[in-house]
């Protein structure tokens, strides 16, 4: 039932859309009917898939970099208040600066003929902060009783980090990862829009290119792929989250 509901809403909306566009005779560059979008998707599938792969690759790389970097920095922050106090303000500056504003400068720095590097850097910046803040929060959310036990049994700093703080941080870290994965995709697309000249080959470039040529069905097809990618990414991280946290708490596990 709960699966059929969104499905039937989707079918209903698509049919309505198709019918209205045809009955009202809306020009296809303003709003193409779903059938035409499907057509564009099928006939351009290889090129779109290539473009999607580019964007996806950069998204995953940026996510991985922000995950590793954010977690490493969070570990440093938790180990030393001094480091945290000296670096946190700069991390915040990066967080609040709109990437659209810094994108052109980054492109200049990495070179106009290496747009994918700029996209990678920009997407990483966007995806970085949720990992950093959630990991810091998680690393500090250790059960004080367990902390006492580790002290009683004379755990080393490494043991405490590895066996206590990191596992304790897992739920928060994974919640951060879910946000960050979505942001990495958004960051990659936005960066491509801003940075993308002839060199860019990702989906965002396909979107802006087709839009400027009034190939609206193609634009919609690319958009559709982008949304599906976002959903798939989110589902993947959620699945990993469920799997890793299945023993923790009834809310994370299967129904109980």
């Amino acid at each position: 039932m709960s699966r059929f509901l969104p499905l039937s809403v989707g079918i209903f909306v698509l049919s309505l859309w198709e019918a209205l566009v045809r009955v009202l005779d809306v020009p296809k560059f303003i709003l193409p009917p779903p059938s035409m979008i499907a057509d564009a998707l099928i006939s351009n599938f290889p090129q779109l898939l290539d473009a999607l792969w580019e964007t996806f690759k950069l998204t995953v790389l940026a996510f991985a970099a922000s995950f590793v970097g954010g977690l490493a920095l969070a570990v440093l922050f938790v180990r030393s208040r001094l480091i945290e106090r000296s670096f946190l303000p700069y991390a915040l500056v990066l967080q609040v600066t709109p990437i659209v504003a810094i994108a052109p400068q980054i492109v200049i720095w990495v070179g106009v003929d290496h747009v994918e590097r700029a996209v990678f850097i920009l997407a990483t910046i966007v995806a970085f902060f949720p990992i950093l803040s959630n990991a810091s929060l998680g690393l500090r959310s250790v059960d004080p009783g367990l902390m006492d036990l580790f002290k009683l049994y004379r755990a080393s700093g490494v043991q405490r980090l590895w066996l206590l703080q990191l596992p304790s941080a897992l739920p928060a870290l994974l919640a951060g990862a879910r946000i960050s994965a979505g942001l990495a995709l958004i960051g990659a697309v936005v960066a491509e829009f801003v940075a993308g000249s002839g060199e860019a080959v990702g989906l965002a470039w396909r979107i802006s290119e087709s839009a400027s040529r009034l190939q609206t069905p193609l634009t919609f097809a690319a958009l559709l792929l982008l949304s599906l990618t976002g959903l798939a990414l989110n589902a993947l991280v959620t699945m990993i989250e469920k799997r890793l946290l299945r023993h923790w708490h009834p809310a994370h596990g299967e129904a109980s």
Binding site: L146, L149, L152, Y153, Q159, P167, W248, P250
Partner: protein, 246 residues
């Protein structure tokens, strides 16, 4: 013999939790500590465990590195199964799983949870979790077992059952137990020795030895030793509380 002389603990915010506390704990005894809420019982236990240092006085006769600790909530690692939770003290000491395995299994069978070694904490009842915590505390065969209101959050039936199990473990084992509780009845039922604390700043107000067999059962609850003990400790607690009221 564990000896505390003139022990005081003042927290950085200036609050004196303990002051001039003298206490001797016989080796092999089951010593309960009772006292009004907030009088510094947990603080005292943390000092004995070496988790905090006294700001005054001295604690001697401690066999360091040979202490087991149990808190009011079981304090298990939710990401680890029962076996891995009991393995923790060994792991932190660098003992391999294989080498520690016999001790872990022995401890788990002592608390009746050998069949649950692969279960995760969230799948266990409150009483079972507490048993895991006890298994973890005794698996390393410590000389001293410290317990801070371990059964306070459990229902009475579970609590009585665990009381008897704990007594059996203590009798069969070879360790001293220091047991903090709010319950006068529990303290008299379990203990060979009882120390009543004053309100904050805590020190020892009175000491009792509970005679009678160390093997106790429901018959003991009807004995004169038990009833007199309960009466005396309750009376002390009332006095201590009225003294503490400003």
């Amino acid at each position: 013999m564990l000896k505390l002389t003139g022990v005081g603990k003042r927290y950085p915010d200036g609050l004196a939790a303990l002051e001039g506390l003298d206490l001797t704990i016989r080796d092999g005894s089951f010593t309960s500590i009772v006292g009004p809420s907030g009088c510094g019982k947990s603080t005292l236990l943390r000092l004995i465990a070496g988790l905090a240092a006294p700001t005054e006085g001295a604690i001697t006769g401690l066999d360091e590195g040979s202490i087991g600790l149990v808190f009011q909530d079981a304090t298990l690692m939710p990401w680890a199964d029962v076996f891995a939770n009991v393995y923790l003290p060994f792991r932190l000491a660098g003992v391999s799983r294989v080498a520690a395995s016999p001790r872990i299994e022995e401890a788990l069978s002592l608390v009746g949870l050998l069949d649950f070694r692969g279960a995760y904490p969230r799948a266990l009842s409150g009483g079972m979790r507490m048993r895991v915590a006890i298994a973890r505390a005794i698996a390393t065969k410590p000389r001293l077992l410290l317990m801070d209101e371990p059964f306070a959050a459990l229902d009475e039936i579970t609590r009585n059952k665990l009381n008897d199990d704990l007594l059996r473990l203590w009798r069969e084992g070879d360790f001293t137990t220091i047991f903090i509780t709010h319950s006068v009845f529990e303290s008299v039922y379990l203990s060979t020795d009882i120390a009543v604390m004053t309100a904050r700043p805590g020190r020892i107000f009175a000491r009792y030895e509970i005679a009678g067999p160390t093997a106790r059962d429901s018959e003991f609850r009807a004995s004169a030793v038990y009833l007199d003990g309960c009466r005396a400790v309750s009376r002390d607690l009332e006095r201590v509380m009225s003294m503490g009221a400003p």
